[in-house]
């Protein structure tokens, strides 16, 4: 997502990422990040929680307004109640998880984000 943000900002739009893994997003060099400690798939909040969703969106826009230095991360103050037991997982494991179980020698390549050469199809 960070690479996409860089392209859009460079083309003349003011951008901000609402990131749950701000360290990862920041690592590629993006102009603005609003960091949020929410579970995956729930960036803005739970289904039906329009109050939280609106507050998060509003706080993100406020961060965009406030940030004046490229590369700034604003930590949004929202707390996630850990009591909510949520299933954050997809219905089936992601294809890469199954692939790496069968091809464990490719795991170091995955850690380096260095995929194998593309085969001719």
């Amino acid at each position: 997502m960070g690479l996409v943000q860089r392209e859009i900002e460079a083309d003349g739009f003011s951008t901000i990422s609402l990131s749950m893994i701000p360290e990862l997003t920041a690592s590629v060099g993006v102009p603005r990040i609003a960091a949020i400690e929410h579970p995956f798939g729930l960036t803005l909040g739970l289904p039906g929680d329009s109050v939280r969703q609106l507050e998060v969106l509003r706080a993100t826009l406020r961060a965009l307004e406030e940030i004046s230095q490229p590369g700034t991360v604003v930590n949004l103050p929202f707390e996630w109640k850990s009591g909510d037991k949520l299933n954050m997982y997809p219905p089936e494991p992601p294809p890469i998880a199954r692939y790496l179980r069968r091809h464990p020698w490719h795991f170091p390549k995955f850690l380096r984000r260095a995929p194998p050469e593309i085969r001719n199809v």
Binding site: G29, T43, G48, S50, L61, P94, P95
Partner: protein
């Protein structure tokens, strides 16, 4: 005390290790910068979600691409109108539980919330269109070379000022 977001609170095991490692790969480089040119109350705002969201009436993202080549995902993008509402879209990202956003699109793509901020006068307007692509890929070249320029062309035609990127 001010909060500091823990990037890894909801990650454990191998995914936690992978995300920490990936976060360490970036090298310092120049950061692009477009200053906000006017108050938000005069800005057109568009949303970009990496959840792989498509209207039920639109062409689905091709999940088979990633199932055949797990280093890569469908690099195309979809357009969602500002009138898109909960229940009108499906979520194709293969690394998250899609059910939350399929119950309520605003969990990952707060189109209805943005319309509310427009009604309150806090932003100039919600853009005519919002966008989504499949967020997972270790080979982003096709996304960056083909889809992102298409999204940027549409943003410009729509005279958008601000883009909020929403990972999942």
């Amino acid at each position: 005390m001010d909060k500091t977001v823990d990037s890894y609170r909801f990650l454990e095991g191998v995914p936690r290790r992978v995300m920490k490692q990936w976060a360490s790969l970036g090298a310092p480089r120049e950061i692009p910068w477009t200053p906000l040119a006017k108050p938000l109350s005069q800005c057109a705002v568009s949303l970009l979600s990496s959840a792989g969201v498509a209207l039920i009436t639109d062409q689905p993202f091709d999940q088979g691409i990633e199932r055949r080549d797990p280093w890569f995902s469908d690099p195309s993008y979809r357009v969602l109108p500002r009138t898109a509402s909960t229940g009108s879209a499906r979520v194709y990202h293969l690394h998250i539980n899609p059910s939350f956003a399929e119950q309520d699109l605003n969990c990952v793509m707060p189109i209805e919330r943005l319309n509310e901020l427009e009604a309150l006068g806090e932003i100039g307007r919600s853009a005519s269109s919002h966008y989504s692509y499949m967020g997972y890929t270790v080979r982003p070249e096709a996304l960056l070379q083909h889809s992102v320029p298409g999204i940027i062309r549409r943003l410009r035609e729509d005279q958008v000022d601000v883009v909020i990127l929403v990972p999942v």
